[in-house]
């Protein structure tokens, strides 16, 4: 039941995302587009197919990816507040992006452009490596420190990495800087079809091989040692799950900029709606809810009816930050965070 309603909400939000925008499209054209016919007006066709459709698809994929990464990190680290943004994984990805955008591209343009003309692939790769590096640091700390300490360490990691990025920005060429600054605001609208062809498969593959670890994620709920006692190959499972999380966070950060708080909020929503910790059931709902919430955040950010756009990050923070506060207060009363 919950799943059907969520699927319906997702479809409704997706269609709304296509219907609304700063440039009006006639209802007739929109209906023709929805029924897979070419809109009559070429301008409408361009807006629908090359602007709104990739934007909506990107938002849906990014939301699903961040929610999935959040769920993976919460389960593997056994930390209800784990999320790519909070623990500095997005910052790691940003560093990768900054290196590619500000330094690497001019130096190796001739070599890279021959195998990766759009630069999309190297961007994803660099971001995923940056995200993975932060995940390794967190993994090394997670058994030694408590939930709160880990969050503070994550924040400090983010500050540290952002400082490095600032230094890179200081030495960067002005024309590269412009692209980087625009990227860093975070938006779903800048992804072109060419980039989407890299982004979508990256997310799809990471969700697939990460999602297949659902049984291991169940075992991790009992902690490292009990997971081993249940016959889990914890090292392999953890590497697979966190690689998947790194690619998901990396891909989203590479194309949409640093987008926070979806990852922490959505898994809590899914668990609350289903009333279970069983990952085989949680993962599909987490994906759908993540996609829906990202579409909603993007809709709000676009301020329908106006020509201006808010940074998506601001909107997701408005949704996600209260969830974190709620989790903290709820857990404080039961004393399970320490």
């Amino acid at each position: 039941m919950v799943r059907w309603i969520s699927a319906f909400v997702f479809v409704a939000l997706f269609i709304t995302a296509l219907a609304l925008g700063s440039v009006p499209v006639t209802f007739d054209d929109f209906f023709r587009f929805l029924t897979f016919r070419e809109p009559l007006d070429p301008q409408s066709a361009f807006i629908l197919i090359d602007v709104r459709l990739p934007r909506a698809l990107t938002a849906a994929f990014a939301g699903a990816a961040l929610a999935m990464a959040g769920l993976q990190m919460q389960s593997v680290f056994r930390n209800p507040l784990a999320d790519p943004y909070i623990l500095g994984v997005n910052s790691g990805a940003s560093l990768g992006v900054a290196i590619v955008m500000l330094i690497a591209v001019p130096a190796s343009q001739s070599f890279l452009s021959s195998i990766d003309p759009s630069g999309a692939f190297s961007l994803v790769l660099a971001a995923s490596i940056g995200a993975g590096a932060v995940l390794v640091v967190i993994l090394a700390l997670v058994t030694r420190v408590g939930v709160m300490t880990l969050l503070i360490v994550g924040l400090m990691l983010a500050y540290l990495i952002n400082a490095v990025v600032s230094i890179l920005i200081f030495f960067a060429m002005p024309e590269r800087l412009q692209t980087f600054i625009t990227w860093s605001f975070g938006q779903f609208g800048s992804v072109t079809w060419v980039q989407f062809k890299v982004f979508a498969p990256a997310v799809f593959i990471a969700v697939l091989f990460g999602g297949l670890q659902f049984k291991s994620m169940d075992a991790f709920l009992l902690g490292e040692e009990q997971a081993r006692a249940l016959g889990e190959n914890t090292v392999r499972a953890r590497v697979l799950i966190l690689c998947s999380a790194a690619i998901l966070a990396g891909a989203v950060t590479a194309f949409c900029g640093p987008i926070g708080f979806l990852g922490v909020a959505v898994p809590h929503l899914a668990r609350g709606l289903l009333g279970t910790r069983n990952h085989a059931r949680l993962i599909p709902l987490t994906l759908i809810l993540g996609a829906s919430l990202a579409l909603l955040a993007d809709l709000i950010a676009r301020l329908p009816g106006t020509a201006s756009t808010l940074p998506v990050n601001a909107v997701t923070a408005l949704i996600g930050a209260p969830v974190i506060i709620w989790v903290l207060l709820k857990n404080r009363s039961t004393g399970s965070l320490s």
């Binding site: 056994r78 209800p80 297949l212 659902f214 049984k215 169940d218 075992a219 709920l221 009992l222 902690g223 040692e225 009990q226 081993r228 006692a229 249940l230 016959g231 889990e232 190959n233 668990r271 009333g275 279970t276 910790r277 069983n278 085989a280 857990n331 039961t334 399970s336």
Partner: protein
Amino acid sequence: MTSNPPEKLLAAEDLIFGHTKKGCPPLALGGPLDLSLVPGELVCLLGPNGAGKSTLLRTLSGFLKPLKGSINIQGTALGDYSPRALARTRACLSTREELPAGMSAFDLVALGRHPHSKWTGKLTAADHSAIDAAFNDSGSTAFRTRLMEELSDGERQRVALARLLSQEAPIAFLDEPAAFLDLPSRIEVLGNLARIAKDRRIAILLTTHDLESALRHADRLWLLGHGGKWFQGIPEDLVLSGAFPKVFSSPNLEFNRSSGNFEPEAKIQNGRAIELIGNGVERIWTCRALERSGWNPSDGEEENSELSVIIVNEENQTLWKIQEAGKTDRTARSLQECLQLLPKT
């Protein structure tokens, strides 16, 4: 595997266990030991804190490598098992584990089927019957649909036990299953485990601090003291052979071989003499009260005692009569009153 009874589920030879830390030489906590577990027995591992009970348990569970020696489970070396195959052979439960919020008792117990189910994790009819049996044997069927955080400590312990049993492993290791429980649940736990071990023909090894329950319910005891002191045998033999005081050495406690408990060392030397007349259970507790208050009660053999307490049993009531030379007799209705009526020691 040999056909000679009793068939050993677990056999360790020349086992030396301890810690290995990076940059430090390995620290042996005990051994070399020859250990075995057979089907249907409950073995309790007792010892003072820090002697290495948990380390030994974790070594036998396969979480720590032995420093020396071999461990065989059902005829195969522990190191040769895949994690999954090992999980079907031995199940582990630690009270120290923390559960995430929002997990139902059924979710938790179903996790015990993890090493049996395919990659889809789908529960078969066999899985469901194993889960039902586990809930049943642990007495937690009533909590099936409840969330773990809603249960009391004792209830949670039963569900955790169900999780262990649903794994259907012939060997079960439990680290302090009685910790955090109130007294009635604590006494129950070991009795239940002894029964389960016999009913299911599995071997259960657990660590505990509850000497009394262990003496009553364990088929065998393993005693581990500081410096690797080691005794094993059935509880009664160990009591009679005086193994307990050697393992739990404490200057202020004395092992009472008749009660099987550690008691504060009697203050006989410095107590003031008092004659105690009476017998039965009232005598035992009167003795305790007097000793605690600094008296040294005697049997009442001596003729001319200056001070005596006489226990009088009168229709549903016990009275304590205090006779003191040169004073009138006084009568107390409770031991508290009796102690107050006695002269200062």
